[in-house]
């Protein structure tokens, strides 16, 4: 029974994604190219900044250039996976206003599934490969071996990070229902998330602690990097997994409270 339900969700997601892709290819080819260019340009400027900093100091809070690049590449890789699946969040306010969200609520599939994953952006898929290549390149050049156990730990971290990012996205959607406001909340989230693109040690002890335990964006890049560098006990991942589950439960609670105040586009 559960397999049948999972198959339905998968089929609907594939259909939605293929429609999204067809629509982009047919209607917005130029915009899609600009989008990819913009993303690569942003990554380039981040590298330029790192290069400039590293030109003045050989180490950045104890990390070498390839190690800092690895953190930046990991950040972009994980963040890109999340955006690939949850790009639809940017259109959520419009969906609440024009009644599409009512349509989500009426369907036999979860409204949360629709709200999060109904606009998977295939353009983000194209960026996964350069980011992944960069991760591998920086890993090899950081002087730490690319071994199975480390890769496995990093994959586990990516899954935990995805659950955390999804929880934050659910909270953003809840704000969208409650206050019909998504853009500023996303900007706030993106700014906080962006702090994790650099080694979190640059924010000092308090900043690091906040980014590790309160808003654990460190899980996106610094923590997997530390695992690779042997600076982190893999058992701590259990703590992060528990934190991710806690965040997910909290976000689902906030979502259910937001739905309670939802008054439908037609009301």
């Amino acid at each position: 029974m559960k397999l049948k339900v999972a198959k339905t969700y998968l089929r609907v997601w594939l259909k939605l994604t293929s429609q999204q892709f067809q629509s982009q290819v047919a209607n917005a080819r130029g915009a899609a190219l600009l989008f990819i260019f913009g993303k690569l340009f942003r990554l380039g400027t981040a590298f330029l900044m790192l290069y400039v900093i590293m030109g003045r100091a050989k180490l950045i809070v104890g990390y070498t250039m390839p190690q800092a690049i690895l953190i930046l590449a990991l950040f972009n890789f994980v963040s890109n996976i999340a955006q690939l699946f949850m790009r639809g969040i940017y259109m959520f306010r419009q969906k609440v206003v024009d009644g599409t969200f009512d349509f989500y609520l009426l369907n036999p599939l979860s409204e949360l599934f629709y709200s999060l994953f109904s606009a998977t952006d295939p353009m983000d898929t194209l960026l996964i490969f350069p980011y992944l290549g960069l991760v591998v390149w920086a890993w090899i050049n950081s002087g730490f071996p690319l071994i199975f156990s480390s890769v496995l730990f990093v994959l586990i971290v990516v899954v935990i990070a995805f659950v955390l990012i999804m929880s934050w996205h659910i909270i953003i959607l809840s704000v969208g229902i409650k206050y019909l406001e998504v853009d500023n909340t996303i900007m706030l989230y993106r700014d906080l998330e962006k702090m994790a693109a650099m080694p979190i040690e640059i924010y000092g002890k308090t900043g690091s602690a906040i980014l590790t335990y309160l808003f654990p964006f460190a899980i996106v890049a610094t923590i997997p990097a530390r695992l690779i560098f042997g600076l982190y006990n893999p058992w701590f991942l259990l703590g992060f997994a528990a934190l991710a589950i806690l965040y997910l439960k909290l976000s689902l609670f906030i979502w259910s409270r937001a739905l309670l105040s939802y008054s439908s586009a037609s009301s």
Binding site: K4, V5, T8, R11, V12, K15, D98, G99, T100, D102, F103, L105, L106, N107, P108, L109, S110, S256, L259, L260, S261, Y262, S263, S264, S266, S267
Partner: protein, 304 residues
Amino acid sequence: MNILEVKDLKKTFKKSEIIKGLSFDLHEGEILGILGPNGAGKTTTLQMLLGILTPTSGEINIFGQDLRTHKSQILEHMNFSSTYVDLPWRLTVKENLIWSAYLYNIPDRRKRLNQIKDLFRLEKQWNQPVASLSAGQKTMVNLARSMINFPRILLLDEPTASLDPEVASYIREFFVDQRNTYNKSIILTSHNMAEVESLCDRVIILKDGLIVGNDTPSVLAKKIEFSRLRLRVTKNPLELDKLVAHHQLSISVNENISTITIKEQLLPLFLYELTKKNVHYSEISIDKPTLEDYFMKIAKGENT
């Protein structure tokens, strides 16, 4: 057997209580009408039954399962047609229905789509975008979509609004046939009282978020004691006036037709007395109380 049970349902928006504790049920194979003046809470109630709105408190059990915890499973066997939920307007009629078939995991999609196309006479509009359709055509597409998953319960909000009389009649017959043949349960809201009276086995009347009437249309209509007697008087009209005054009845005259509001029990005696007083008339009609009369009385805030 109850297929849907609502217990003490309440909905509050920003401290304003819209639904104040509704309890009702729907039997298998029953057509239930929900009526009420504007702002009574009909749409809010339907939206809670559909899962669009989350109740502030109370219970909705459908097929013996709690809607809060089994929403997806329940919605697989329910469907709706409403003017307040737009279809994806850029898609064609065919694409809209294919999409619905996907969502409800319909096994033989092509066969089902062809059935639906024929049932709802959508051949001509099949490849047109929904945005280009008239209001009546959109209603037909909405109705077609609502039948795609062979629902056990159908929620219909103004199902024949914007349809021409012939198509509206076809749709009414279609739903009665669905009930008779497949034992489907239907909840219907409409401002067309004649439609509700002819279709519904039972009617719930809402006012200010509360149920003020719950019975068959005929029983509700009988709660109105007065009938309307219409006469075109041709001889002795003064005698009629005297008789009306004697029984303390109300009368209005329009284009030589006298309309007298009279209790049903008094009618035979009144007609006998008219004959005795030699009042002649060339036309006579008696309008028995209807659901509309009952509804009007509720809407005006009079006690029944």
